[in-house]
Each structure stands twice: as structure tokens, then as C-alpha cells.
Symmetry: C2
Subunit: 438 residues, 2 copies
């Protein structure tokens, strides 16, 4: 296929007219499809039905040591859940807290506690004139939203092929005391699906922050979410930091939201023992403790890390074809056109597409008008502003495969229409000495 | 029995020596009993086993409107849970948010949001020099602890027989802008088991707070927790406030922690629609939503409010004999001695005992040394300081009945020993012109 940028105005107009006809045809079908959020599909939810069933008697409510999970107690989770998920996150059981059903909630709480009480004796952030967070982008909109909600200034950091631009990270962290944190999805990142290289992890571990209470918010949401047999390997950041005597610098988060049930999974956070002790002290004021029965359900269901890994293969068998369907559509419809680039991740929940500059919003709008909902353009950037208006996050897991194919094809169509509109508009203003029409 | 205060020094010494002998006997039994926290016993937990069982298939995970409770969505709870628990708290479904497993967590979050973001556009409390909360006492230690944790000044308010001293409440609330809230357990209160009178509720509803963001934290934890057929009736505070055009002034909390499972129940908060809308906006940053499956389990189990009420009768059948055992011990061992007063509640989870002034700590200590754990003396007061050192909260629900009887008897013994020590010490210093020994 020819690079569209090299086509003449006339050729582009012809293609556009034909695409618009196609678009009107699709529109008339009144589609109602959703590729907006990283939501498991029904078939995936059914993989974990046994979770619901494995506790159903008085005796089966007992955790290790005879603790009745129905009653009060155990602020930081049941021992067997700590052991299982510590192994999943590659930390020690003494370095983990097992929480409720939402790791996002644990991240919010962690920021909220830093705001009102400070971290390990440092000044509460709400008492400071200025607090800043680094936001590698494209990234996860709900991370950025938490810090924005607390009035924290968001600083965009460019994502490279193996992680955030570490020169920029180092510059900010080491020179600006008001930089208190950075949001990271280090494995199968949201939305690009890349995994931070060892070098990137090592550079994190070597940081000398200007702020004593600088923390890396390491959301390892997709740690076991492989799509293929070739698993990305993420270097252990807590170990890397410990080797440099800086193990307090990271908070690690994880959950089973995309392993068992998004609404009724188990969330967790890991950190150095000193951090954990401090958080537990605060948690004692905050709650009567997590839902231990649900933790026990999860341990009973998985038994061990091997059980989680086997379970994730079943997820991959369901969602890999969905990723493939989108990638195939992108390749066959957009390959060689020069109108878009995209990622082909080995894990995680998203495909990241970059259109021509200035075409993301228009593409999303065209999709919406034809009944396909996408994550809003700009959502992957702090404050919802993508300076080049080109990044779109595609979430292929929720729709059934046949609907997804329809949606992916429409998406490509919309990328092409938006791209041609852009090229034509550019040609208009540069067609001669005088712009014909602007 | 004779009033101990009227006995001679010699008589008191004889009784004391005999009691100490008895005490040593009990001590040698190496008891290990716990009357410290309001924890349901094992028999009570077994009343709700069906909760665990009523969702076990893909189809049974669907809430009203076809929502799959396993997946993301519905920040404020499933419609059928809103309806059920709105009825329980006597509010409209549009006035309730159904949360996770801990109403204490919802209270903490409500205070935390007020600290960082303020209430309905008012200044965040963390930006103010001084914030104060009124604490009717004796009261619930974990309420007081939340506000203390945020550096809020706690002002004790005397509890009368029908609720807080409303003259004092009105004085503080109407004259001091830094008074931002009051903690209340209005029905079967913790620890006294009293229910606020209509007059008290009306006086709350008539308050003209100096602070626009003054809020009543109305923890209706024991709203359906009757011990007898004679149910206390609490006037509806939201309606009373609404009648005065002040419906934003209250946050109501509730949970099923002592209806189904303390660790895995369902928590909720209710308020005016304007308050609820504002909280929901903030919740959207805070979490991906509550565990909807657990909400659905509860609705399936209870079906309707009648179901909850019938269920509570089964609890009463188990715990009323425990309350009676303690009350009987108090009456037979301490009645007429003038060494203690106690409540005989018609609902809730506690019996409140007042010893002679200055005897609560000593009594709790004596119990502890003999293997019976009580709520620490002072816990029912702000900062853990009971100015008269006399209030002790007894939680009779957790131990089996036979153990409870042993514990209650020991408790009375300790009250007597501590009381006689006090009387002797008073007599010592007043025995003649010169104290014999101080």
C-alpha cells in the first residue's frame, strides 16, 4: 500500500470519498461496541467460578492458625494470602499487605495518607506549597487522576521503548525537592504493553532523590498477564533498591482484578518492612480490616503461584485471539499507509496506537458516531492533554471476538478518514504561495 | 447487702482478705477469656452461612438490570442493595452509597476527604489552624481515634440518659466555627446501650452551626440490633433535618458487620442527595468500586427488611442469655454494695459499668492478671482519659456462655477488690488528725 502522504490531493479525495461511503454503511448498522476500558470478557470471568464456591461451611472459613475469616482481625491479610501474593510480586511475606478488592484504592489511600500524615516522619504533603508527580506517558489515566485530584502537579515524562526517559526522571527527581513520586506500570505497561528494561530498573534504583519522601509508585498490575509463551521478565525493583540501601523508595501494587474478578478480586501492596510497618500503623485507624473470606477464597482456588500461572494461560487462550484480531486489522488496513503506528504487546491489556499528529480526537469521535466507544483521546496523558493528539488506547478484551473484528475494522477506517482529512488540510495550506482555504 | 462505704475499716479488711483469697483461687485456673471487643461469637456467625452459598454460578452473579457483579462498574453499589439498606436506615435509595466491608473505613474516608478536599466547597480542614470534634462520652474509642489521628481536637460531651448533653452540644456547635463534627451512636449506643430521645434528635435538627461544614456523624451501627421484643425507636434525623431545611448536616453510617460477618459484611453511608452526589464525585478517584458480589450475596440472603428483622431475632436468642448472665452476676455480686452502677440495655453490643471513681483502671488490671481481657479503662473517653476513671465497657457476645459466667463473676470480684482498696485508702487518710499511712 502506498504511503498516503505521498498521494496527490486528487487521489486522497477519491480515497476519502470511498471511505466515507464505507463509513456511512457501517454507521447505518447502529453498532454499540465498547473498546474503552480494560475489562475482562464474560468468558474470562467464567474461568474463576470456583472462587465463588470454595468456601461454604463454617469449617472452610478457617484460615491458617484457626483464624475465623468471618470475624474481625488481621489488619494486613491472612498469612496464606500474604505468602501466595508475596511470591507473585517477588517480595517477602513480611513485605506485603493484602487489602480489599481494589489496588487503585490502595494507591489512592497511599497518596491520601502522604497528604495528611506524611511519609516516615516527613512533612505531610498538604502542608507543602507545591507537590509534583512524574507521569510517564502515554500512561494510565486513573493514576494521573488520583494525583490531580489532590492538587499535585503532573509532569509528563516521555515513554521510550524500554521505559520512561530516565534522563528526564533523574533530572527532576534529583534536582526538585517538590517531586514526590512517579507513576509506573513497569510490566506490559498501560497502554503500550512494554516492559521496563533492566537498565531502566537499575537507573531507578540508583536515583538520589532531592526529597527524602520521594516514592516510586510501581503498579505491577500485569505481572503475570502474559499473552504468549515468551514471558517478559521484569527486574525486581525492591531487590535492586535494597542493594543500594534504598529499599524504602518504592511502593509496589498488584491485584487479581484481571486474574479472577475485576469487581471482587484481591488487591495488595508491597514495600520495605519499614514502609509496611508505618502503613500498618495508619491502617489501624482506617479500617477494621480487609475481607478475609475473599482472600481465603482466592488462596483456596489458586493453591500456589503455579496455580495462578496455569490460570493465566487460560486467560491468554481467550484474549490472545482478540489482540491478534486487532493487530491483523491494523496491519491489513493501515500497514504501509504511514497513517498510524501501533504496539504488538506480549502481555497486558492494551494496544497503543499513534495516529498522525492531530488525528486522535477526530478518530475517536468518528468511532463514537458509528457506535464504537474508545478510551477518550488524550486520556493517556496528564490532564487529558496529549500534546500531539495522536495516542489512542485500544482495549480488546471485553467485546466478543466477532464484534471486536467489526470494531477494529471500523477503527482503521476512522484512522484513515481522520488521517486523510489531516493530509488534505495540510496540502490546502501549503498548495501554493497563498492558501486556497484554511 | 450492706453499702460497702458504710462498713468499718476492720470489716472492709476482712472482706478484702476473703476476696483476695477467692481471687488467687481464680487466678490459679489460668483463664484466658476475652470480653474486650464487640465481636459476635461463633454461633452467631453460623446464622449466616447461606450468605456464602447463594452465589455460585455465572447466572447468579447478575444483579438487577443484568449487571455482572464480577466485573467493573457501579461505584455506589447495586440497586437492590441500595433499596434494601436504604429501608434499613430509613432513607431513600437515592440517599445511600453501598460500600465495602467496613463502615469504620467509610467514616475514616469521610473525615479524610473533608481534610484534603473540604465539604461542599468549604475550605479543606487540613488548611485550617484548628478543627474540633465533639465526643459524647462514654463513647466508641475507634470513632475518637479517627479524629485524633487527623490532629483534630476532641471535646468531651457528657452523655445523659437520653443522649448527649444537648446544651453543651448547642453551645459548642453554635459558637465555635472550628467545631466541625460530632460522633454519635444514636441507637443502643456504644457502650451504654441507650437510644437518643426524640427531643435530643429534634435539638440536633434545630442546631444553627457556626461552621457551614459542620456534620453529625450518625453511626447507626445497631439500628436493628434489638435484644428484646420491646424495640427502641429512634427518630429519623435526616427527616427531622429536612423539615428544617438542613438535610446536609448529617452523615449516617451502617453495616451488616454484626448482622452477617464482621470481616465480610457490607457497609453503607446515607446522606442528603447533595452530599451523596459530592461524595460520589470524589469516590470516582478513590476506587474502582465496591465488591458487588458480596452486596448481591447479602441481598439474596435477606431478600428484604423483614428478612433482616427475622435474622436479628436469631442473634438475640443467642446473645440475650449472655447479656443476662452478666447482668445477673452484676446484680447478685454487686447489687446494694454501692461499688458500681451498670446499664441493662435493650439492644446493641455492650454493658457499661461505672465503678467507684478511680477504680476502673485497677479493676481492668486485676481482671487482666487473672486472665480476663477487658476493653482498656479510659478507652470510652477521648484520648483514652476517663477523668473519673470509672467507666468500663463489657462486651458479652464473644465468649461461650459458660466461660462468660466465669468471666463475669471474676469481673465482679475485681470491682469489689478495687472498690474496697479505694474505700480503705480513703479511710486511711481521714482516720484521725494524722494519717496513719498514705
Amino acid at each position: 500500500m502506498a504511503e498516503y502522504a505521498s498521494l496527490s490531493r486528487k487521489e486522497l479525495c477519491e480515497i476519502r470519498d470511498s471511505l466515507l461511503k464505507e463509513y456511512e454503511d457501517v454507521k447505518s448498522k447502529n453498532l454499540k461496541l465498547d473498546m474503552s476500558r480494560g475489562k475482562p470478557g464474560a468468558e474470562q470471568l467464567n474461568l474463576s467460578l470456583e472462587v465463588l464456591d470454595c468456601i461454604n461451611s463454617s469449617e472452610s472459613c478457617k484460615a491458617e492458625g484457626g483464624v475465623d475469616c468471618r470475624n474481625y482481625g488481621l489488619l494486613d491479610g491472612i498469612p496464606e494470602a500474604k505468602r501466595l501474593f508475596a511470591e507473585m510480586l517477588e517480595v517477602k511475606p513480611s513485605e506485603i499487605i493484602i487489602g480489599g478488592n481494589s489496588s487503585l484504592n490502595m494507591m489512592y489511600d497511599t497518596v491520601a495518607r502522604a497528604m495528611t500524615h506524611g511519609i516516615l516522619g516527613e512533612t505531610p504533603w498538604c502542608k507543602l506549597d507545591k507537590v509534583k508527580f512524574l507521569c510517564p506517558c502515554p500512561g494510565y489515566d486513573r493514576h494521573f487522576a488520583i494525583t490531580e485530584h489532590f492538587g499535585i502537579e503532573l509532569i509528563p515524562i516521555e515513554m521510550k521503548s524500554d521505559g520512561p526517559d530516565m534522563d528526564a526522571v533523574q533530572f527532576y527527581v534529583e534536582n526538585d525537592e517538590s517531586v514526590k513520586g512517579i507513576w509506573c506500570v513497569p510490566k506490559y505497561s498501560n497502554p503500550e504493553g512494554i516492559t521496563y528494561s533492566d537498565e531502566v530498573v537499575d537507573r531507578f534504583a540508583a536515583l538520589n532523590p532531592a526529597a527524602k519522601d520521594f516514592r516510586i509508585f510501581w503498579d505491577n498490575a500485569y505481572c503475570v498477564h502474559h499473552l504468549t509463551d515468551k514471558h517478559d521478565k521484569l527486574k525486581n525493583i525492591l531487590e535492586a533498591l535494597r542493594a543500594n540501601g534504598k529499599e524504602n523508595m518504592v511502593y509496589i501494587f498488584g491485584s487479581t482484578s484481571k486474574i479472577t474478578f475485576p469487581g471482587s478480586g484481591v488487591a495488595m501492596m508491597a514495600a520495605s518492612e519499614e514502609n509496611i510497618a508505618s502503613i500498618k500503623k495508619q491502617l489501624a485507624f482506617q479500617t477494621i480490616g480487609p475481607d478475609k473470606l475473599n482472600q481465603l477464597r482466592h488462596v483456596r482456588f489458586f493453591k500456589n503461584l503455579k496455580g495462578i500461572e496455569e490460570h493465566m494461560k487460560k486467560h491468554a487462550a481467550i484474549i490472545k485471539p482478540k489482540f491478534d484480531a486487532v493487530i491483523n486489522a491494523l496491519e491489513s488496513e493501515l500497514g504501509g499507509t504511514g497513517l498510524a503506528e501501533w504496539t504488538n504487546p506480549r502481555g497486558g491489556y492494551f494496544i497503543s496506537v499513534n495516529t498522525l499528529d492531530g488525528c486522535a480526537k477526530r478518530t475517536v469521535e468518528l468511532c463514537k458516531e458509528a457506535g464504537v466507544k474508545l478510551t477518550p483521546a488524550g486520556a493517556t496523558y496528564p490532564y487529558g492533554i496529549d500534546p500531539r493528539d495522536r495516542n489512542i488506547r485500544i482495549a480488546p478484551t471485553y467485546p466478543p471476538l466477532d464484534e471486536l473484528k467489526v470494531a477494529a475494522k471500523l477503527f482503521c477506517l476512522c484512522v484513515k478518514i481522520a488521517g486523510i482529512e489531516k493530509l488534505l488540510s495540510a496540502k490546502k495550506v501549503t498548495i501554493g504561495a497563498q492558501p486556497v482555504r484554511v
